[in-house]
């Protein structure tokens, strides 16, 4: 079975049903591993143990942005290539990406409070992540408001492509503006500036959350396909009734 065969919703459902339990089990295992490594990682000399919020905050940020990136690719799939499952993926990814962005905002806020003395500042990076969160909520509202799935898909795709402009702003905001937030320390030109004893647990944590994203995405896509089947059945019921 080629990967393109998954474009067929029924084949996808069969594939999802088979793979979700295994992927879920793998996610649990990696999470257990990540938690143990995070617990054993060294404390920061300044912040103490609160630095470990980083293991939630940074993956939350990465996956919030990854979610929108995925939606952007799906949007191109809907508008340009007319792929049948592209809009299903986009609709399913939105709430998950929003949840990760929310986790990023909340953990960042709790982490910043002891350090900066406030729960929130309006600096460039925090504001652009908040804007990303608002964009997520907006696209979710758009999906829910337009009744016809294919029209909703096209509208959401356009909004997604425009909103993708926020992603580079988030990434480079700490470089372009003078911000309170820490500058880039992992994904940058040159080597990461974080010590491996903290970096490795961070990557494992990121891996665990990425697997979680994948499991949730597959499950949500499965639900969406089933939801559309119910809708089609209802339309059929109404039109064939006397």
């Amino acid at each position: 079975m080629a990967i393109t065969d998954l474009a067929n919703p029924s084949r996808f459902l069969a594939f999802a049903n088979r793979i979700i339990p295994w992927l879920g089990a793998l996610t649990v295992v990696v999470f257990a591993f990540a938690i143990s490594r995070a617990m054993n990682a060294p404390d920061d000399y300044q912040q103490g143990a609160t630095v470990k919020i980083m293991y939630l905050h940074v993956p939350g940020a990465w996956l919030g942005m990854l979610g929108w990136g995925l939606m952007t690719v799906a949007a191109l799939g809907t508008l340009v290539w007319r792929h049948p499952l592209a809009d299903v993926a986009a609709k399913a990814a939105a709430p998950i990406g929003a949840a990760f962005t929310f986790m990023c905002l909340v953990t960042g806020s709790l982490w910043g409070r002891p350090m900066w003395g406030t729960y929130w500042v309006w600096d460039a990076r925090l504001t652009s992540v908040l804007v990303l969160f608002l964009l997520y909520l907006g696209v979710i509202a758009l999906w829910r408001t337009v009744e016809d799935p294919s029209r909703a898909a096209r509208a959401a795709a356009i909004l997604t492509l425009v909103g993708a402009l926020d992603l580079p702003i988030i990434k480079f905001s700490v470089d372009w503006w003078n911000t309170l937030h820490q500058p880039a320390s992992v994904l940058r030109l040159g080597a990461p500036t974080i010590d491996p004893s903290i970096l490795i647990p961070l990557f494992i944590s990121a891996l665990a959350f990425t697997l979680l994203f994948a499991v949730l995405l597959l499950a949500a896509m499965r639900n969406e396909i089933l939801r559309r089947r119910v809708r089609t059945l209802r339309l059929l019921q109404a039109s064939t009734a006397s």
């Binding site: 406030t118 500042v121 309006w122 509202a141 829910r144």
Partner: protein, 222 residues
């Protein structure tokens, strides 16, 4: 089930099932609060001082947006004709619709205020009093808004006219709401004075709003 209870249930069901449900108003609220520091600058001390006012304005605008569909939807599908020839008095039906509107628009705003207040650097005491003033003031905003919604019901692009009609009427609620929210945090006026006046305005609007709106509906439907 009585006629009014049936009306309340129907309006609540429709509000929850359509579009984003009750949360679209909260999203708008959040967007307005986000835009304000982008316009004013990130000075946290300034934001803390004017925070209650910003949140009150945002709540007012979010309320206004929701009012547009209150009677217009029923007018467009012919429900309003049948409602006006029903057995329940139109004033009570309008009041019940106002209650449903507040439960699905105003109340979620009040509940969303504490986390959103954090964005404006409000402390616990300021947030507490703000929530209390919004809890008492948002019903006033909704019921005054009924009047504008009724006057604009037959107009296709009634949204802006509705805003122009309603906003001046909401000025007393806004003034005393913000005054009460600020009074608890800064002196010298004690909290009770503007707060009781706010309560009075809300109670008055709960009575006047439905009567005026019903009269306007009868007039518009001729």
């Amino acid at each position: 089930m009585s006629a009014l209870a049936a009306m309340l249930t129907r309006d609540l069901r429709v509000a929850v099932r359509v579009g984003g449900g009750a949360l679209i108003g909260v999203l708008f609220f959040l967007v307005v609060v986000t835009l304000t520091p982008l316009a004013l600058g990130p000075d946290l001390a300034l934001l803390q001082r004017i925070g209650p006012a910003i949140l009150w304005l945002a709540a007012l605008l979010a309320n206004l947006l929701a009012l547009d569909r209150l009677f217009a939807a029923d007018h467009e599908d012919g429900s309003l004709d049948l409602i006006m020839t029903g057995r329940a008095p139109l004033e009570l039906v309008v009041a019940v619709k106002g209650l449903a509107q507040w439960l699905t628009t105003g109340l979620p705003l009040v509940i969303a205020t504490p986390p959103i207040g954090l964005f404006l650097n409000l402390d616990a005491k300021a947030e507490g009093t703000l929530v209390l003033t919004l809890l008492v003031g948002t019903p006033g905003l909704t019921f005054i808004g009924l009047i504008g919604a009724a006057l604009a019901v037959t107009l296709r692009r009634g949204g802006l006219l509705l805003a122009v009609l309603v906003l001046p009427l909401t000025v007393p609620v806004l003034i005393f709401g913000v005054a009460a929210a600020n009074a608890a945090v800064m002196g010298p006026v004690p909290f009770g004075t503007p707060f009781t006046i706010l309560c009075a305005f809300t109670l008055a609007s709960i009575v006047v709003g439905p009567f005026a709106a019903a009269a306007a509906l009868r007039q518009e439907m001729e």
